[in-house]
Symmetry: C2
Subunit: 370 residues, 2 copies
């Protein structure tokens, strides 16, 4: 096998696929990146069985073939190579791979590519296409709300429900819930799955946003795949049933608040300096007199208070939240004004964007001693 390709394209593809390599691979070959060269194209693959990434780039293929190389060294060597192009060839005895550019030669030990569990395109029972920016928005507005507690696996992923023309993504850690809906022009079928947050976050980082493009999603009963330009990503789905959350979302709010998203985020960030050493990271919020009064207290450090201007429509409310749960959602908002809906002191509150009813975030207050 022998090919020549652009250094930067190869480095970029290696960087993406290497994210599927486990920190502690189950078998030695899973620490490797598999490369197949044929017909002026390279296919690079890595997998940890949970996740699998495949990236394709152009190359001048002199001799077709396949190799597998330890991912960590492969990526670092390519990154450090001088020049614009790199030539890679498998030694005649198939035991070493030569990586060459200008006056630099690396020889890395080759793994046996036949041992690599090559990723095949998923044959699913539902397939649909979604704009990359739409998918990214669905993920950005929900995946941050997932739990990281592996003991409750259904909360470590996002629920995806497709029902005709309606797509709903939701995530929760039981103290907060984030839900985003999108409507399609054409009905695309019906499915109800839980996608691991990890693959969704990789899509958020890998899907280039320069040119809007289509992402093809294929689902089987236990697996999902995403096809983006020259990148194929696949993941196992999370088994189990995502709890019904419709009754968690309040039907109405007694008090409607509007605040400047940036000013409120900065204030929360400051005030929570004092609160964050506490397990619950509690910031009290007093909504009255056209202001939100934010307060935090830590007997070992001191206290913080700050006022943020607000439009308040309805009765005054004094309540308290885990500051991080509020900061997380503020960072996911795309509107400069944020709407907060409140009822009683201990009733769940909602955070929404100014002019977007497709998104709602519900957060449960924290009980405090007054």
């Amino acid at each position: 096998m022998k090919f020549t390709c652009t250094k930067n394209e190869l480095a970029n593809a290696l960087r993406i696929v290497s994210k599927a390599i486990a920190n502690k691979p189950q078998t030695p070959v899973l620490a490797g990146i598999y490369v197949r060269a044929e017909e002026n194209q390279l296919e690079l693959q890595a997998t940890n069985y949970e996740l699998g990434f495949v990236s394709r780039i152009q190359a001048e293929v002199e001799t077709p073939g396949q190799i597998a190389i330890g991912g960590r060294y492969f990526l670092e060597v390519v990154n450090k190579m001088p020049g614009d192009t790199i030539t890679i060839s498998l030694d005649d005895d198939a035991r070493t791979v030569h990586i060459q550019s200008e006056k630099v030669n690396f020889t890395l030990l080759s793994m046996n590519p036949a041992e690599f569990p090559v990723i095949r395109p998923l044959d699913g029972n539902l397939q649909f296409t979604i704009k990359d920016n739409v998918l990214r928005t669905l993920i950005k507005k929900t995946s941050f709300a997932c739990s990281t507690d592996e003991g409750k696996p259904v909360f470590t992923g996002c629920s995806l429900v497709v029902d005709g023309t309606e797509v709903t993504m939701a995530a929760s850690n039981m103290h907060r819930l984030s839900v985003m809906k999108e409507t399609f022009d054409e009905p695309i079928g019906s499915i109800r799955i839980i996608i691991p947050a990890k693959i969704l976050n990789e899509i958020l980082h890998s899907a280039s946003s320069d040119i809007p493009s289509d992402i093809t999603i294929t689902c089987s009963y236990n697996q999902i795949s995403f096809v983006l330009d020259n990148l194929y990503m696949t993941s196992r789905l999370i088994e189990g049933t995502f709890p019904s959350y419709s009754r968690v979302i309040p039907n109405s709010f007694a008090t409607h608040v509007q605040v400047d998203t940036a000013a409120f985020t900065a204030a929360l960030d400051r005030v929570s300096l004092i609160a964050r050493s506490d397990e619950y990271n509690v910031v009290k919020m007093d909504f009255r007199n056209k202001q939100v009064h934010l307060m935090a207290r830590n007997p070992e450090v001191g206290d913080a208070d700050e006022y943020v201007s607000a439009e308040i429509d309805g009765p005054d409310v004094q309540t308290a939240f885990n500051a991080q749960y509020f900061i997380d959602v503020m960072k996911a908002l795309d509107s400069s004004v944020c709407r907060i809906g409140l009822n009683q002191e201990l009733s769940p509150a909602a955070v929404r964007e100014a002019d977007n009813d497709k998104f709602i975030y519900v957060v449960t207050p924290v009980r405090t001693a007054h």
Copy 2:
């Protein structure tokens, strides 16, 4: 106590002095930053007994006085404050400190400033003044060569020898030695001390280089202080005698090599990718035919080789070094061309700048199986 000052100046002073706070302070008050406000000036202090930093900034002092506040929170709160100015005041009961800016109020618990071991100016037996860029060069060219092995304390600092008009700074970890000399216009006395690398590295990072300025150095038998503009830094000296190193420096070299500093550094950096998992990080160097041939081999990974153009005057030499010891010195060089002096395969080599005989770096080769 009450004063108002510029937020950025205060944040900058806190950032500098807080570096003297130990990770695990010996007594609670040593986790604090001491502030004295008087006559339109603030003095901020922090110390861990080894190191002590004092920074002075302008302030509008309404009521003079002193406070001590937990350094970590003080720095973070000031950094996150909005607006350009900050007002800080001690509560009447002297138990809390108010930090206020715009609509933001923080109240931090006050420590007892009387418990803080206030840093007094050092009364030394030798005092001299040095240009900050001269001191920075002395440090930059030597301190990287120190050992981090606390079991051999004399090697964890730089030897400073002042003898009339001549100042010599040197550092070693026993496998390499870096020596830099400077000549003063006037004789400044005589001293022979070992300064901890930690304070020297702080000076390297703290001394602003925008405007050349003078640094006043005062030494006593066990302590040193540096006065830079509005910053006073003091440190204990390392006890013991720095070994005589003059016989380690070869008198002459059979082979003189000149290489491009950047090209040689990049090549070393690449080739050592393969070597660095090995304890000795060995890169072989073959100096012949107007080239340096760099080679590294790791039976578990593979091997690397690369050629760098060189001017070679004298017999061919094949030798081997710890790559990191070479990379470290290359990064400290200020000349685009680097001179390497060689004798036998296992004789110490020297690295120097193109036109600077004030600096020499000596590194011992590594024995390899051919």
